[in-house]
C-alpha cells in the first residue's frame, strides 16, 4: 500500500446526467471503483447520479474514462461534470442512499423484456426462481410501469409494499450479485404472486396452478384477461376461429387486426417473412408488436387481420408472458384489455367490471401498476424502426427536440391521444392514451399528465392544444394559458422536430382530417415552412364533406361527393350510386349538395376511401384506416401505370384522376390495377410537389403515410429525383406523434 500512498491523491465529484437510473449503474460504478482501488460513494439523485471518488490521479482518470465506455447497455450519459474536492480519506467505496430533490431531470429507463440470464433461471428446475413470473435483475424487468417517483429506489416503486426475504436481501446487498441494487427484485417467497379469478373475483387458483388452469381455459377457447406489465391484455387461442370471433363480438371490434403473441423467433418465422432488422426489433428489450408481412396461409389467420397482408406479432415481454406462451405453445391473440372506446384497464378490481362483458377469466397479480401502458406497435421502413403506437418499452425515453424556454404541457390530438411535457430540449411523451371521445380516456389523459409532472418534477406554465374549436382541453378549473396549433402543421413539424431539421423545407401532411384555419377540413397539406412563418402552399381542391364524421365511416359518401363534384346531378344516373343510397338519403343529400351546404374538405384520407369505393369496396368502415389498408393490399408492385393529377397554382386538381379511375372501373379492369395506379399517381404527386416547390428536405407525415406502399414508394421516388425524404421514426406518423409538432409550432411560430 505504500506505493499508492505516495502517488498524488485527489478526490473528485462526478455528476452524471442521462439514463443512469434503473440500469444497474450504481453496482457498475461500485465494481469499477473497487477494481481501481478507489474509495468514496455513489448515489442516485433527482438529476441522475452523483459519484465521489478518491484515489491516485491515474486511477481516477481511468475511472472517469471507463465510466463512459463501459456504461451498461441500457444506459446513456448525456452530461458528465467533474469537480475537485478536498480529500476525505474514506475507507471503502459504498452505494449511498438516494437524495430526493425538487427538480428531477433524471431519466428513467423504460420497461425491459427479461434478459438471457433471467430466462435461464426461469426455466432452470434447480433455481429458486424456477417458473417465477416476476423475476428480474439490474438489466431487465419493470421500470417505468412501476415507478411512482424519482429518484429510482424500491421505496418509490409499486414494490415498496413487498419487504425482501433474507435471500433477496442478500442478493440486493451483494455487489458481486447481478441483482445487487436491483430495485424490483423479487422471488417466490417475498415477491408478487399470480391469481386466477372468475368473473366474480373469486380465486380459482393461485401461483403456478393459476397458470396451468389459465392455459387449460385458453385451450377450451376461453377469453383470458391478463394483467401484464402496463395493463390488461385479452388473450385467446388464435387458432380457434370461433373463439377469436367471440372476442371480436364481445369487444365490438369486427375487423380490426389483432396482435399475436408467439413464444419465440422460430414461431414468428413460420408465419412471417422477417428481415434482420425486424428480428432485432422483435427481440429488442422493448419487445414491441412488429408489423410483418405474412407468408403463412393457415385459414385461422384470415380472422386475425382480415383486410391486411401484414400481421402484428410480438415476443414475450415479461417472464409471465414467456411462461404463458411457452406453456400454451400456439399463437395467442393478445389485444389491449379495454372496453371498446375506453382506455386500457390497469387495475384488477376495475378490470373485473369493465371487462366483465368480454373476458371469461382474469389472470391477475398483486404488483400494482404506476403508469398504464399499452403494448407498442412498430415496423421497419427502409431499414429503420418506425413507432406506430408509442407506449410500453419506449415510454419514458425522452426525445431530444428544440423546445421553448418555458416548460409546456402538450395536449396532443383528439384521436390516438398521446400527451407530453416539453422542457429543456426534451420531449417526454406519455404513453398512448386513446381516443378522447370516451370520458374515461380524458380522465386517463389527466392521470398520465399528472404522473409525468410528478416524475419529472415539472409544472408546465402553459399548454398547447389542437386548433379545433372543440378540442378537449383540461379540467374546467384549468387556469393556465395556452396555444392552439393547426393539426397538419403539427404533423409536419413533428417529423422536423425528431430529425432536428431547420427551415426551409416542404412538408406533406396527408391525413384523415384536421380542422383548418379557413373553416374547412384539411388533410392533404403541402406546407412550405420558412424561418419566419409557414404557408399552406398546395392541397387537394375542395369537395363537400357529406355528413361530417359520418363521411369517415361511410366511404360511399366521399365517393358520392367527389362524383357529384365531377358530374353534378348527372351522377345520380350512375347505377352504382343508385343502389347504395336510399330514396330518402338521395333526396336529402341531393338538396344538400345542390345548395352547397355543409363543410368542405380536402382530406387525402377521404379521397382514399372514395377511390376504394370505386375499387369495389362495399359497406362501412369499422375502424380508422380499414379501407385505406384494404386498398393498399390490393396493390401489386408488378402493375404499371398511373392516373393524371394536375398540379395548378390553386391546388391539386383531382378531377382527371377520378375520371380516369372511373373509366378503368367502367372498363371492368381489376381492383389491383385500379388500386396500384392510384397509389402510383400519389407517389408521382409527391415528387411533382417537391419539384415545383424546389425545396429540400421533404417531410412525409400524417396518417396516410402509414400506408407502406405509398411511403416506401414516395421515399424511393423522391430519392431518385434527388430529394432527401424524412418521415416519422421515433414518433408515430399518425396523431400519436402530434405533440412534438405542437411544441415546435409554438417554439418557431408562436402557435398557428
Amino acid at each position: 500500500m505504500t506505493g499508492v500512498l505516495t502517488a498524488k491523491q485527489e478526490r473528485w465529484r462526478l455528476r452524471v446526467q442521462g439514463v443512469v437510473q434503473g440500469i444497474g449503474f450504481r453496482p457498475f460504478v461500485w465494481r469499477l471503483a473497487r477494481e481501481l482501488g478507489l474509495t468514496g460513494w455513489v448515489n442516485n439523485d433527482a438529476a441522475g447520479a452523483q459519484i465521489e471518488v478518491e484515489g491516485a490521479i491515474a486511477q481516477l482518470q481511468q475511472f472517469q474514462q471507463r465510466l463512459l465506455v463501459e456504461l451498461p447497455a441500457a444506459g446513456r450519459c448525456d452530461r458528465l461534470q467533474q469537480e475537485r474536492l478536498t480529500l476525505q480519506g474514506d475507507r471503502e467505496f459504498v452505494i449511498a442512499t438516494s437524495m430526493a430533490s425538487e427538480q428531477s431531470t433524471a431519466q428513467l429507463p423504460p420497461d425491459r423484456a427479461p434478459c438471457s440470464a433471467c430466462l435461464r433461471e426461469l426455466w432452470d428446475l434447480r433455481d429458486r426462481r424456477y417458473r417465477y413470473p416476476f423475476l428480474n435483475c439490474t438489466v431487465c424487468g419493470p421500470r417505468a410501469s412501476i415507478v411512482r417517483q424519482l429518484p429510482y429506489d424500491r421505496n418509490r416503486t409499486t414494490l415498496a409494499t413487498f419487504p425482501l426475504c433474507p435471500d433477496c436481501q442478500r442478493e440486493y446487498q451483494d455487489p458481486s450479485d447481478r441483482r445487487f441494487h436491483a430495485q424490483p427484485i423479487a422471488c417466490p417467497t417475498c415477491g408478487p404472486q399470480l391469481q386466477l379469478w372468475d368473473a366474480q373475483g373469486q380465486v380459482l387458483a393461485d401461483r403456478d396452478r393459476s397458470l396451468t388452469e389459465a392455459i387449460a381455459a385458453l385451450q377450451q377457447g376461453k377469453i383470458l384477461a391478463l394483467k401484464g406489465l402496463g395493463g390488461f391484455q385479452l388473450l385467446v387461442d388464435a387458432c380457434q376461429t370461433d373463439a377469436v370471433q367471440r372476442l371480436r363480438d364481445r369487444k365490438s371490434r369486427p375487423h380490426k387486426p389483432l396482435a399475436l403473441l408467439l413464444p419465440d423467433l422460430e414461431a414468428v418465422r413460420q408465419l412471417c417473412q422477417i428481415s434482420a432488422a425486424e428480428a432485432e426489433l422483435l427481440q429488442s428489450p422493448a419487445a414491441p408488436i412488429v408489423l410483418l408481412r405474412a407468408i403463412a396461409s393457415e385459414p385461422w389467420l384470415a380472422a386475425i387481420a382480415p383486410d391486411c397482408c401484414e400481421l402484428g406479432l410480438m415476443l414475450p415481454a415479461t417472464p409471465l408472458h414467456h411462461l404463458l406462451s411457452r406453456d400454451f405453445g400456439q399463437p395467442l391473440v393478445a389485444t389491449s384489455g379495454n372496453r371498446s372506446g375506453d382506455p386500457l384497464c390497469w387495475d384488477e378490481v376495475d378490470a373485473l367490471e369493465s371487462l366483465s362483458a368480454i373476458a371469461d377469466l382474469w389472470l391477475v397479480h398483486d404488483r400494482p401498476i404506476a403508469l398504464p401502458m399499452d403494448d407498442s406497435v412498430t415496423r421497419i421502413i427502409d431499414g429503420q424502426i418506425q413507432v406506430l403506437r408509442r407506449a410500453r418499452g419506449y415510454v419514458p425515453t425522452p426525445i431530444a427536440i428544440a423546445t421553448p424556454a418555458e416548460p409546456l404541457l402538450i395536449l396532443g390530438s383528439w384521436q390516438k391521444n398521446t400527451p407530453a411535457i416539453a422542457a429543456d430540449g426534451q420531449l417526454q411523451l406519455a404513453p398512448y392514451v386513446g381516443d378522447l371521445e370516451s370520458l374515461a380516456a380524458r380522465d386517463r389523459r389527466q392521470q398520465v399528465i399528472e404522473h409525468l409532472q410528478t416524475v419529472m418534477g415539472l409544472q408546465p406554465t402553459a399548454w398547447v392544444a389542437d386548433a379545433h374549436p372543440d378540442a378537449p382541453l383540461l379540467a374546467p378549473t384549468e387556469t393556465r394559458s395556452g396555444w392552439h396549433v393547426q393539426h397538419h402543421l403539427a404533423h409536419v413539424l413533428a417529423v422536423a422536430a425528431e430529425h432536428q431539421l431547420q427551415p426551409p423545407f416542404l412538408g406533406l401532411a396527408w391525413d384523415g382530417s384536421g380542422w383548418g384555419l379557413d373553416q374547412t377540413v384539411w388533410g392533404s397539406e403541402a406546407l412550405i415552412c420558412q424561418t419566419e412563418g409557414w404557408q399552406r402552399w398546395r392541397h387537394l381542391q375542395l369537395w363537400p364533406l357529406l355528413g361530417g364524421d359520418r363521411a369517415a365511416k361511410e366511404p360511399r359518401r366521399s365517393a358520392l361527393a367527389l362524383l357529384w363534384q365531377l358530374e353534378g346531378d348527372r351522377c345520380w344516373d350512375l347505377p352504382e350510386l343508385q343502389t347504395v343510397f336510399s330514396p330518402t338519403e338521395r333526396s336529402l343529400l341531393q338538396a344538400w349538395l345542390s345548395r352547397d351546404r355543409g363543410l368542405k374538405t380536402s382530406s387525402m384520407g377521404r379521397l382514399f376511401e372514395a377511390i376504394a369505393w370505386i375499387c369495389r369496396w362495399q359497406g362501412d368502415q369499422t375502424y380508422e384506416g380499414q379501407v385505406a389498408t384494404w386498398l393498399e393490399n390490393q396493390c401489386d408492385p408488378q402493375i404499371v401505370g398511373d392516373y393524371p393529377l394536375s398540379l395548378t397554382e390553386t391546388g391539386i386538381d383531382w378531377r382527371s384522376l377520378l375520371q380516369a379511375v372511373w373509366c378503368d372501373r367502367q372498363a371492368d379492369l381489376s381492383t389491383a390495377i385500379l388500386a396500384t395506379r392510384f397509389h402510383r399517381s400519389l407517389i408521382q404527386l409527391v415528387v411533382a410537389l417537391a419539384q415545383q416547390a424546389g425545396l429540400e428536405p421533404v417531410i412525409l407525415s400524417g396518417g396516410c403515410f402509414q400506408n407502406r406502399f405509398l411511403l416506401e414508394g414516395a421515399i424511393a421516388a423522391l430519392r431518385s429525383a434527388g430529394f432527401q425524404p424524412y418521415w416519422a421514426q421515433q414518433l408515430p406518423p399518425n396523431d400519436g406523434g402530434i405533440a412534438a409538432g405542437q411544441v415546435l409550432a409554438v417554439h418557431w411560430y408562436g402557435g398557428s
Binding site: 365490438s252 372496453r339 371498446s340 372506446g341 375506453d342 390530438s413 383528439w414 384521436q415 371521445e437 370516451s438 370520458l439 374515461a440 380516456a441 380524458r442 389542437d466 379545433h468 374549436p469 372543440d470 378540442a471 378537449p472 374546467p476 393539426h487 384523415g512 382530417s513 384536421g514 380542422w515 377540413v521 364533406l545 357529406l546 355528413g547 361530417g548 364524421d549 359520418r550 363521411a551 369517415a552 330518402t584 338519403e585 333526396s587 336529402l588 343529400l589 341531393q590 338538396a591 344538400w592 345548395r595 351546404r597 355543409g598 363543410l599
Partner: protein, 327 residues
C-alpha cells in the same frame, strides 16, 4: 307596405292589424299598460325572434315568439300573465303575411293563457329585416314559496324530459333548405303551460326546469351542470323520432345538439318520477315523456352520456355549429 314615417298610416296599421286581433285591456291607446298581479313576485323574460323561413311545418315566427317567451317564464315556475310584442317589419312584407302571423300569435297567446298588452311597430327599408323580427317580453307571477332554478338542483335528482328531441331544428332546417321531402314530422313548437302547471298543481317538487331551445339538450344540461353538479344521461332513454334520427344521420347531425321549441327537462326527486311521467302522459298523450338520467356528484360541471355498449362519453356544449369531431 310603406309605413316607415309613422303618423296616420302607422296608426291605421296598428288598428287594423294588431289591435283588432290582440284583445288588450285598454280601449284607448295609452303609453303604458297598467297590470294588477296576484303576487308581488314578478317574473320577466324577453326574447327576440329571428328565423328563416317565417313559416315552417308546425308553426311560424308568430307562434314561436309567443311560446318562446312564455316558456321561459314557465321555466321559473311562473304563471304567465301578459306579453308585450315589438315588431320590426321589412317594407316588402305583405300585409296578408303579417295578418296571418298576428293571427298565429293571438291563438298561441290564447293557448298559452296570456294576453298581449302592449306593443310597438317599426318599419325598415327593404332588405333590412328578413321579412320581420319580433321581440316579446313576458310577465308572470310566482306564488310566494316557489323556488325553481338551477341553484335548486340536488344530487340524486331525476332528470325528466317531456318528449322526443330534434323536431323543431330539423323541420326548420329541412324547410329552409327546400329539401324535397315529405317530412313525416313538424316542429314541436308549443306552449309548455299545461305540462309545467300540471306538474306543479299535482304537487311535484320541481327543483329546476329548462327548455331545450338552441343547442338542444346538450347545451341546456351543460349550462345547468355549470352550477357545480354532474349528470349521468342514459343515451338509450332519450326519445328521438326515427324520421328525425334518420335525417340527422344522413346529414351528420347529433339530435342532442338540435333545437327544440316545445321540450323541457325537469329536475325532481326520484320518488316522484313515476307520478310526474303519468301526469305528462295525461297532458300530452301523443308524447313520450321519459326519465333520462340523474344528477350526481362524481363529475361536477360535466354531463356524462352513458351508452348501452361501449364507453361513456361527454355530452358537450359545442362552440358553434356541429363540426366533425375527428381531428
Amino acid at each position: 307596405m310603406a309605413h316607415g314615417s309613422g303618423g296616420r298610416q302607422m296608426n291605421q296599421l296598428i288598428e287594423t292589424v294588431f289591435r283588432s286581433v290582440f284583445e288588450t285591456e285598454q280601449t284607448v291607446a295609452a303609453d303604458a299598460a297598467v297590470l294588477t298581479l296576484p303576487s308581488d313576485r314578478i317574473a320577466v323574460s324577453t326574447d327576440s325572434f329571428v328565423i328563416q323561413p317565417l313559416f315552417f311545418p308546425g308553426g311560424d315566427i308568430g307562434s314561436l315568439a309567443v311560446h318562446g317567451t312564455v316558456n321561459d317564464l314557465l321555466m321559473r315556475g311562473a304563471i304567465p300573465h301578459r306579453l308585450t310584442a315589438s315588431f320590426i317589419l321589412e317594407e316588402s312584407l305583405a300585409i296578408a303575411t303579417l295578418n296571418t302571423l298576428v293571427q298565429s300569435m293571438a291563438s298561441a297567446a290564447q293557448a298559452a293563457g296570456v294576453q298581449i298588452c302592449a306593443g310597438d311597430t317599426k318599419v325598415v327599408e327593404r332588405g333590412k329585416a328578413d321579412g320581420l323580427y319580433i321581440t316579446t317580453t313576458g310577465i308572470g307571477w310566482l306564488p310566494p314559496d316557489r323556488q325553481i332554478g338551477p341553484q335548486q338542483i340536488q344530487v340524486g335528482d331525476a332528470i325528466v324530459i317531456n318528449g322526443d328531441l330534434g323536431r323543431h331544428g330539423i323541420a326548420v332546417m329541412a324547410c329552409r333548405e327546400g329539401l324535397e321531402l315529405e317530412l313525416p314530422f313538424a316542429s314541436d313548437v308549443a306552449s309548455l303551460r299545461s305540462p309545467v302547471l300540471g306538474l306543479l298543481e299535482a304537487g311535484i317538487d320541481l327543483h329546476c326546469l329548462r327548455d331545450l331551445t338552441r343547442g338542444g339538450l346538450a347545451s341546456a344540461l351543460n349550462e345547468l351542470a355549470a352550477v357545480g353538479v354532474g349528470m349521468d344521461i342514459e343515451a338509450k332513454a332519450i326519445p328521438v323520432d326515427p324520421a328525425v334520427a334518420g335525417v340527422c344521420e344522413i346529414l351528420g347531425l347529433d339530435p342532442l345538439q338540435v333545437a327544440n321549441e316545445g321540450r323541457f327537462v325537469a329536475f325532481l326527486p326520484t320518488d316522484q318520477v313515476a307520478i310526474a311521467l303519468q301526469i305528462l302522459r295525461q297532458i300530452w298523450p301523443e308524447q313520450e315523456p321519459r326519465c333520462i338520467g340523474i344528477v350526481q356528484s362524481a363529475t361536477p360541471g360535466l354531463v356524462r352520456l352513458r351508452q348501452p355498449f361501449g364507453s361513456d362519453r361527454l355530452l358537450e356544449m359545442l362552440s358553434g355549429e356541429q363540426l366533425p369531431r375527428i381531428c
